[in-house]
Symmetry: C2
Subunit: 220 residues, 2 copies
Amino acid sequence: MELTSTEENYLKAIYHLSDGGKKSVSTNDIAAEMKTKAASVSDMLRKLGEKEVIEYRKYYGLQITESGKRFALQTIRKHRLWEVFLVEKLNFAWDEVHEVAEQLEHIHSPLLVQRLDAYLNYPKFDPHGDPIPDEFGDVRARPRVQLNEMDVDQTGQIVAVKDSSAAFLRYLDKVGAYIGARIKVLDKVEFDGSLEILVDQKKTLFMSKDVSCNILVLQS
Amino acid sequence: MELTSTEENYLKAIYHLSDGGKKSVSTNDIAAEMKTKAASVSDMLRKLGEKEVIEYRKYYGLQITESGKRFALQTIRKHRLWEVFLVEKLNFAWDEVHEVAEQLEHIHSPLLVQRLDAYLNYPKFDPHGDPIPDEFGDVRARPRVQLNEMDVDQTGQIVAVKDSSAAFLRYLDKVGAYIGARIKVLDKVEFDGSLEILVDQKKTLFMSKDVSCNILVLQS
DNA sequence: AAATATATTTAGCTATATCTAAATTAATTT
DNA sequence: AAATTAATTTAGATATAGCTAAATATATTT
C-alpha cells in the first residue's frame, strides 16, 4: 500500500505529537500542527483508519499502529537523510534545508533511499542533531538535556534544537551556537533564567531562557 | 506563478511533441503521450491557456508561448540534472533513472537546482546524451545522426538514444553499446538494414535496423 | 443533575484531475 | 454539396483535500 504525500504528512504529525505513539493526540492538536481545520482532520483520520495506519474510534481518540509507525519513521528517515545531503553535499545552511527536505521526503523509491544513505556514509544524525532511523526504523537517540536545565560550570556539546524555525536557526548561526559547538555554563541569572555561556572555549555569550530551553545538549 | 506537477507534465509533453514549438500537436497526440483521454486533455488545455503558457483556440489547435517554453525547459533541465546525479553520484544504471527523475523534477526550489548544477560541475548532457538546458533555457545540441544512416567505415561516438525504455537500455548495456562508446560501421546488410559494428576498437556486434535507428551518433 | 462550554464530527460546498458518454466541429468521402 | 468519419469539446460522474456552518458528543461548571 502507498500513502499520498498528504497522508504521509498527517501521519508524521501524529507520530511527532504522540511522541512515537506514547501520548494521546487530539483532533485539534493535529489541526494546529497541520495548519488546517478540525473538520479536515476528522476526514483524514477516518481515511488513515481505513488504511490501518492508525486505530481510530470517533470521539474517543486514536492510536498509531505498528504499520503506521513504520510509515512515519520511513518518512522521517528520508527527510533527515535529505537534510544531510543538502548541508554536506550542496552547502545549504542548516536553516535553509527544511522546506526543501519537506518536498524531497515524499519521493517514492526504496533504491534511492538506500543509495543516498550509502552515499552519505550511513549518517546517524541530521544537521539539527536529530537521529536518523535506520531502514528498519530503529533509532539510536542520544541522551540530552535542555541547556536551561544545566548548572553553572557544567559542560557539553550542542546536539539538537527544539525550535527549528528559520528565524531561530539564523539567530544561532549568528551567535555561533552551531550543532557540535562545545559549551560551558559560566553563569545563571536566577531572576529571569538567562545564561552566560562559553562557546568553544573562546566566545562568551548571553542567552535568554526562551533561547536556552530550545537548545539540547549532550553533557560531558 | 507556479504550475502543479500535472501541469508541468502536460507542458513538457507539449514541448516535446511540438519539437520545441515548431510542429503542431493534436489533443489526441497529447492524450496518447500522457496515457489519458482526449476529454481530460481538453480540460487541461483550457487551463494552460488561462495560465498563458500556451495559446489555445478550441477546435483549432495550440501554440506554446515563450513563457510556456521557459517553464518546459526548466522542468527538462531539472529532470536531466537529477539523472546525472543519480548515475554519477548514486551509481544508478542509466535504465533505472527515469522514473525517479520523473518525481524529482517537480521539486520546487531554485536554490536546489543551482546548487545541484554546481555540485555536478555544470554538466551539458545527461546520461542518455540529451542536452541539459542552462538556467536561461539555452541548449547546446550536438549534431548527430541515426546509426542506421551511417555508411560502412564511418566512425563516431554514441551520444544518445531515441527509445529510452528500460528494456532497450538494458539490451544496450548488455551488448556494451553505452553512451560514450566509440564505434565504427564494419558492414551493412542491404537486405534488412542490419549492421556489423566495432565497439571501442575491440568488440564486434551485429545489430538489427530496429535497434540502430534508435541510437544517435556524433560522427568523427 | 442540569446548563454551559468545548471538542469533534457530519453535511454540504469548492477546486483539481480524472473518467465515460453525448454533443459538436472539422475533415474526408462519395 | 451531402453524408460519413474522425477529432475535439462539453456534460455529468468520481475521488482527493480542503473549507464553513450546523449538529452532536464529551467535559466542565454551577
